[in-house]
């Protein structure tokens, strides 16, 4: 009933840590994601791509985790409403994408369906 997270690395203009998530992100599992991201940031990750292709369900707890990860990476305050250059999302299902929009997270985070395009955007 947990969450599987695979850590990968990709080379864009900067080194990118790719977290491929498999499972449902709810109040029971969101901390697994948050802790895994924190572990990566502590060991030097500065740019993270969250691959949501294996996530069938994400509730508000998942967005709390994403919010926390955004704050971990956005150490310097960017003026005004701007998208994070450090955290991006890949491949959300239609249902997850709808919640992202409803909660207004698409204003802060770039969302890609194509992995190469996502990597090249950093």
């Amino acid at each position: 009933m947990g969450l599987d997270i695979m850590v990968g690395h990709a080379k864009g203009n900067v080194p990118i840590t790719v977290l491929r998530i498999e499972g449902d992100i709810d109040a029971a599992t969101h901390k697994t994601l948050q802790d895994k991201a924190a572990e990566q940031v502590e060991t030097g990750a500065t740019h993270i791509l969250l691959d949501l292709g294996g996530v069938n369900y994400m509730g508000s707890a998942g967005f709390r985790a994403i919010h926390a990860i955004t704050n971990m990476l956005n150490k310097e305050a960017a003026p005004g409403l701007s998208k994070s250059p450090y955290l991006k999302l890949l491949g959300p299902t239609d249902a997850v994408a709808r919640v992202i929009k409803t909660l207004g997270f698409d204003v802060y985070l770039d969302i890609y369906q194509d992995r190469d395009e996502a990597i090249a955007s950093y």
Binding site: M1, D24, D26, A27, A28, Y57, G59, S60, A61, F63, R64, H67, A68, T70, N71, N74, A77, A78, G80, L81, S82, S84, D94, A95, R98, V99, T102, L103, G104, F105, V107, Y108
Partner: protein, 143 residues
């Protein structure tokens, strides 16, 4: 309380029950012919409501949460009830969608999503203690 209708699903309220609750919603939705878009919304709102019961309602206490879902014409209605402390959500503010993410407070998203993704959401105190939520999603069943 003796005349209360029995609900289809009664589970121990803890974070591990969330997956079971979503399975019940998915299975019932398939039986009722609920369309995919409505199913996505219903999974979300019921998960959020039950999460609130577990975290804010019972907290460290033990208790049951019960869920019932049925068709109502082309709509779907869902009832969720518990015996947790009465929860007043009138003070829960909607998340500030126009604020820089780092300045946005954590939380408050669950109640916002429940109201946003249903056509009716009624929260009431239950006679004898606890809470009951009635949710209605219109045009959920495509015939």
């Amino acid at each position: 309380m003796g005349d209360e209708q029995a609900f289809d699903l009664s589970v121990k309220a803890n974070l591990e029950c969330l997956k079971k609750v979503r399975q019940y919603i998915s299975q019932t939705a398939t039986r009722l012919g609920v369309n995919n878009e409505a199913l996505g919304d219903l999974l979300l709102v019921v998960d959020e409501a039950v999460t609130n019961v577990v975290i804010h309602g019972y907290g460290d206490d033990e208790g049951q949460v019960e869920v019932q879902m049925q068709a109502d014409g082309d709509a779907v209605s869902i009832q969720i009830r518990d015996r947790a402390e009465t929860f007043d959500n009138s003070h829960v503010n909607a998340p500030q969608l126009d604020t820089e993410l780092k300045d946005r407070p954590f939380g408050g998203m669950g109640i916002f999503l429940i109201r946003k993704m249903t056509d009716e959401a009624e929260f009431m105190a239950r006679p004898g203690g606890g809470n009951e939520i009635h949710l209605l999603k219109r045009d959920a069943i495509t015939r």
